[in-house]
């Protein structure tokens, strides 16, 4: 049933990337009878292909093409060539994600109004709000089968959660549970329930976790309206004399350059590759890159305030057993400036296997202070801290013309400096996370620095006014009406929540809008 479209077919919608944004958008458009060509740099990987081994899986799934880094963030020192831990595969990072599926809080759509002026931050309100997004969130939750939404039960708590929950309650936290997870908590017609295997980050071998790669892409292909071309790296988006985009140039696996014509182009390559592609598509008409009359392409890169707290106890925990991130404390997620910062953060259970713990607990550290921590690995519990970081115009993705990828294209340089608000929030979160574990008798705790980014947001941000951002409230670029941004790079601000559910909800909504505009002959 898989469709096959000609390179010269200018009636198709070309979607670049097949993750939470592009994969969902491709399926949603295909369901509406629209012809879609999805170009994906990675290969197909199905549950049976996934590997319960951290480094081997990393080699299978991670995006390891060259990137460079700068700025004062520790990732630039510890992992200079790996600013992000994201995936190159059909399904994109939804293959690897933990499954945490949270709606934004109402005030987070209006960050500038709620937080006021924050020195050094380029805060802006989204041009959409909670009421507008409510029905789209519901559709997204149903698609992902998010636990604790609809009538879906929560997941059972594993050992890591039980330690976390007991500490949270001892501390007086009220809103602690096993999370809203895109992981089946009961056997359904098309999904087996979570088997508590761990290795959520390595791809779920049961298919219990939602991934665009084996859910939306398969559904879209079944309509006969979607052709996915794996191993296709898009090099450039082209346009005509009127300024409208006409299609994309891409390299296939053998390095052959093709041109695929398009009626509409939707860009969902993640917050590094999407702005990189716009910048690499500069032309005489658009000398600073496509959709960049505002000079906002690549700016306001956000990665969430993150960090982890691991703790050692006098008895075993075996935190790696079971669902990796099915545990959350939400009491610190609200906006309460008396804590010394604006915005809030979530605390979520997390575990790493021994190989990744050795790499990420305290990168670069050595000697007994470090190794005695690993000696106690079996007795460790862990949590991840994730909160809203401040957008800054100088945190940005630019082209590094000194470094080229395997196709000879300038790579993305990712510059990031922590904002003082990010630092204040992280310090507060470290303190609270440590207190949670000390309340259950931790003998030693570790405030662990951020990993290479998993939440990459904001580099083509959504704005009411064209001068403030790259896309309008539909993800349509302000400058070019048949060019859309469909991934997390359109985020105006980051909110405290894991972003996938919002990316999915925006993609469903965008598909609806594109179909309507196509019918009305506006596109």
């Amino acid at each position: 049933m898989t469709a096959k479209f000609d390179h010269s077919d200018d009636s198709v919608v070309v979607v670049i990337g097949t993750g939470a944004g592009g994969g969902v958008l491709s399926n949603e458009l295909a369901q509406k009878g629209i012809s879609v060509v999805a170009l994906e740099a990675g290969d197909r990987h199905y549950p049976e292909d996934f590997i319960n081994d951290e480094w081997e899986s990393f080699g299978q799934l991670a995006w390891t093409d060259a990137r460079t880094t700068s700025g004062d963030w520790r990732v630039a020192k510890d992992f200079a060539g790996l600013p992000a831990w994201i995936v190159k595969s059909v399904g994109g990072t939804t293959q690897h994600w933990a499954g945490a599926s949270l709606r934004f809080q109402e005030h987070e759509w209006k960050a500038k109004t709620t937080y006021g002026e924050v020195s050094g931050a380029s805060l802006l309100d989204w041009p959409i709000d909670a009421a507008e997004m409510d029905p789209w969130y519901t559709k997204a939750e149903d698609k992902l089968q998010v636990t604790r939404t609809g009538n879906r039960p929560g997941l059972p708590g594993n050992n890591n959660f039980r330690v976390f929950e007991k500490g949270a309650k001892a501390l007086g936290y009220k809103n602690v549970h096993t999370g809203r997870m895109a992981i089946a908590s009961r056997d359904d017609s098309d999904r087996i329930m979570c088997q508590q295997t761990g290795f959520c980050f390595q791809g779920c071998k049961w298919g219990a976790k939602w991934s665009a790669g084996y859910h939306d892409i398969e559904q879209g292909e079944a309509t006969g309206n979607l052709e996915v071309r794996p191993g296709s790296h898009v090099a450039r988006i082209l346009h005509d004399d009127s300024g409208k985009v006409t299609g994309v140039e891409y390299f296939d696996k053998e390095g052959n350059l093709h041109f695929q014509k398009a009626r509409i182009v939707c860009l969902a390559g993640n917050s590094f590759e999407s702005p990189r592609l716009l910048l690499n598509s500069a032309s005489s008409m658009y000398p600073t890159g496509l959709a960049n009359s505002s000079d906002q392409v690549g700016r306001n890169y956000m990665r969430h305030m993150t960090g982890s707290v691991y703790a050692v106890f006098d008895k075993p925990v075996k935190m790696w057993r079971g669902t990796t991130m099915a545990g959350i404390i939400q009491d610190e997620a609200g906006h309460n400036p008396s804590r010394g910062f604006v915005g809030g953060y979530e605390m979520e259970t997390l575990s790493l296997g021994l190989p990744f713990m050795a790499a990420f607990l305290n990168p670069g550290a050595w000697g007994r202070e470090f190794t005695t921590a690993l000696d106690a690995y079996e007795n460790m519990a862990g949590m991840w801290l994730v909160g809203e970081d401040m957008p800054q115009a100088t945190n940005r993705v630019t082209l590094n013309t000194d470094v080229k990828d395997q196709w000879g294209l300038p790579v993305a340089n990712v510059h990031f400096d922590d904002h003082p608000n990010d630092i204040a929030m992280r310090n507060h979160a470290y303190k609270q996370g440590t207190a949670v574990y000390e309340a259950v008798g931790a003998t030693r705790t570790f405030p662990t620095p951020p990993y290479p980014s998993t939440h990459n947001l904001g580099t083509n941000r959504m704005s009411a006014k064209p001068e403030d951002g790259v896309v309008n409230k539909w993800g349509q670029t302000h400058d070019i009406k048949n060019l859309f941004i469909s991934d997390g790079s359109q985020f105006t601000t980051g909110a405290a929540e894991n972003p996938t559910l919002t990316i999915v909800a925006l993609a469903i909504r965008q598909a609806d809008h594109i179909a309507r505009e196509m019918s009305a002959k506006n596109l």
């Binding site: 319960n52 594993n158 007991k166 057993r321 021994l354």
Partner: protein, 182 residues
């Protein structure tokens, strides 16, 4: 990070010649390993032995000691460190290692010892390592160990880590929530 680590891991997939052999050994001054004649290196308790191809056996012995001092785990035997380091015993990597070890020995001599492995206390060896920790040689050895040591499946049980679970049906019936001391 991945590239260096994984390259080293891959090198370590070649046969490492670990054997248990009866030893007719003379020990180095105070180190944990023995050098027996040309190219042959073995542990005093016969847990492991290797023949070095390119590296001087004394240099491999110093490298093993250095690795133990960087990531000391008293319950992890020398053989696992040897496996993590064996990849350096090649024509392309040995010159830099010999040079690095010679500098390390020079630091030890400057501190009044015969060489690095003859420094008796870990604390004193660590002080020497601290003085070179920003140098490329140290960082290469340390960085390689992160995957070369901790990604050996045989090491995981020593830390209690259970590795892959899919083939056992996950932990749904095998104790995902079996904590009993809370």
């Amino acid at each position: 990070m991945k590239t260096q680590g994984e390259n080293i891991m891959n090198q370590n997939k070649c046969p490492v010649g670990l054997t248990r052999r009866e030893l007719l050994a003379r020990s180095t001054a105070a180190g944990a390993s023995f050098v027996i004649g040309a190219g042959f290196l073995a542990s005093p308790n016969a847990a492991w032995a290797i023949e070095t191809a390119v590296l001087k056996p004394e240099s491999m012995a110093a490298l093993v000691q250095m690795a133990r001092d960087i990531y000391p785990h008293d319950k992890v035997g020398d053989e696992y460190y040897v496996i993590a380091l064996k990849g350096y015993d090649s024509e392309s990597t040995a010159p830099a290692v010999e040079s690095g070890i010679e500098k390390l020995n020079a630091r030890a001599r400057a501190a009044g010892y015969e060489n690095y492995v003859s420094v008796g206390w870990e604390e004193d060896r660590v002080a020497i390592l601290r003085s070179i920790e920003e140098e490329a040689f140290f960082q290469q050895i340390r960085g390689g160990l992160v995957t070369g040591l901790y990604n050996q499946k045989e090491v995981w049980p020593i830390f209690g880590y259970e590795g892959a679970s899919f083939e056992y049906g996950g932990y749904i019936d095998r104790g995902f929530n079996d904590i009993n001391w809370l």
